[in-house]
Symmetry: C2
Subunit: 304 residues, 2 copies
């Protein structure tokens, strides 16, 4: 198994396996019986909507890349999925990106109303931390590492990470000019910060050495940006049916994107370059890191 062995089918199978491992945990955490309370139903609507489970799989793959136990990383991976889903539900709100479609279905607020969607996001975010605190130690991770992982998750998701990125992204819509450096800062925070957290948390749980952590962080930074550029590209040239969301939204909302700033061709080149650099950053890691290499390929080759 090496990057040249990459195929989208094999990668999607791998992501699917992560999803199959995580979903029972999430499903028992938000039990079906509780759908009697419509809030639970609204949570499950967005949580089990067929996402790619990218962040959770990055966490699992990073743990495996340093020889860690997959079982130990599962609660952390599940928590990352919760944080990612919360961010989508809130970003889709009318006051934010005002999106009607997500993963091929009406967005949470379209189905359950705005107030419930706000609460769904709040609940998912809160339960991400709760889930780690409840299950982290029980899954065999040292208490000190569980705390470090919570810290990492909070820093990636919070005021100096994802929330800042979403804020800067909103601000950027009003800007008349923007340069590549400014846009990289938006993307690094909006998408990159949680992806970096996902990889680093997996590495922590797997007891990575400081040097391994360094390499994995470099890897994560590069694929984080590559994924966002690819997202921008797909918004221009993707297929609505495959994406499960409307295309051309960035342009309609006057968002600053890589294709808008440097053109489509150069954007594709840059994404490919970042993907290669990410794979290079894993040089010190052996075959255990192959799934991470596949994900770096997938970042730029995917159609959704």
């Amino acid at each position: 198994m090496n990057p040249s062995s990459y195929s989208e089918t094999a990668l999607l199978d791998f992501l699917q396996r992560g999803q199959s491992d995580i979903n029972p945990l999430l499903s028992s955490y938000f039990p079906e019986e509780d759908v009697a309370i419509p809030l639970y139903q609204a949570v499950r609507y967005s949580l089990f909507a067929g996402g790619k489970y990218l962040r959770s799989n990055l966490c699992l793959a990073a743990c495996a890349s340093v020889g860690g136990m997959r079982e130990a990383a599962l609660p952390f991976a599940a928590a990352l999925e919760l944080v990612h889903t919360y961010s989508l539900v809130h970003d889709d709100l009318p006051a934010m990106d005002n999106d009607d479609l997500r993963r091929g279905r009406p967005t949470n607020h379209k189905v359950y109303g705005e107030a419930t969607a706000i609460l769904v996001g709040d609940a998912l975010l809160t339960e991400a931390f709760t889930l780690i605190a409840q299950k982290g130690v029980a899954s065999g991770v040292a208490p000190e590492t569980v705390i470090k992982a919570i810290c990492e998750l909070g820093e990636g998701a919070g005021l100096n990470g994802m929330v800042l990125g979403q804020f800067l992204d909103m601000l950027s819509e009003k800007k008349i000019t923007m340069n590549e450096k400014e846009m990289a800062i938006v993307h690094q925070n909006k998408t990159g910060a949680l992806i970096v957290a996902a990889v680093r948390i997996g590495a922590m749980v797997g007891n990575a050495t400081p040097e391994q952590m360094l390499h994995l962080t470099e890897y994560a930074k590069r694929i984080g940006l590559a994924f966002q550029i690819a997202d921008d590209i797909l918004d221009v040239s993707g297929e609505e049916k495959e994406l499960g969301k409307k295309v051309g939204q960035d342009q309609a909302q006057k968002k600053w994107t890589y294709p808008r700033l440097i053109g489509l061709e150069k954007s594709i080149d840059l994404a490919n370059q970042l993907s290669e650099e990410a794979i290079d950053a894993l040089d010190g890691l052996g075959e255990n890191a192959d799934h991470l290499r596949w994900i770096a390929c997938f970042a730029v080759k995917r159609k959704k």
Copy 2:
């Protein structure tokens, strides 16, 4: 010092001391210099708006009641203030309670817009957990206890606590009838759950015995409900100027409140009874618990 020694001035001095101890921590966590980024400014606007610091002081007082070190409880108390502030910012949103005034000033979304207010709430909630993870162990608390406290905070704030309460409260507006038991469930979750978490976290950090924890939990449940009933009463009979928010909002929004359900007189009686029961629950604890007794008095005697 005992409950009969209660005076509002002394209690407000005590709350003020908690605020003075917590604010430097919060202020260095959200540094003033960063107001360059308007998101930080928006966070500080709601965080330093002169709240009562009730939940954080409950945490500090509960820690003291079992002989714990005040210093150890500070990061946890600060985190409770963050969670409480997030809940106010989100509850005030147009899609939720649609309030224009909070603590005597325009609400966050009135000043910074709805999108920023959503992000402010998201950031405050995330940073609450991050702050505990960053500073809990450094303040002298065992890693296992830090994790238990994070769990307690998440359970109080999350899908089976405060978020559920807010959801049930919204649902209740549409109900034609409601009984006392149903309303108690709303209140226990909406206000009570985080108050119970505040007291229990303080007790944990102070290394309470299981028996002490039991008594403190009983105390917390009662004052949680007493505070909410008092809130309902103040919305009917309070002074807008003292409260810093509009009165009569519950009626305008057709909310089910204790005064609406059982009348003003009986509501006052019930709040007083709960306050006394809360004080009784502290029987096994000595003078160290006097501040908790004061807070139980304040719950029903306050004018704001």
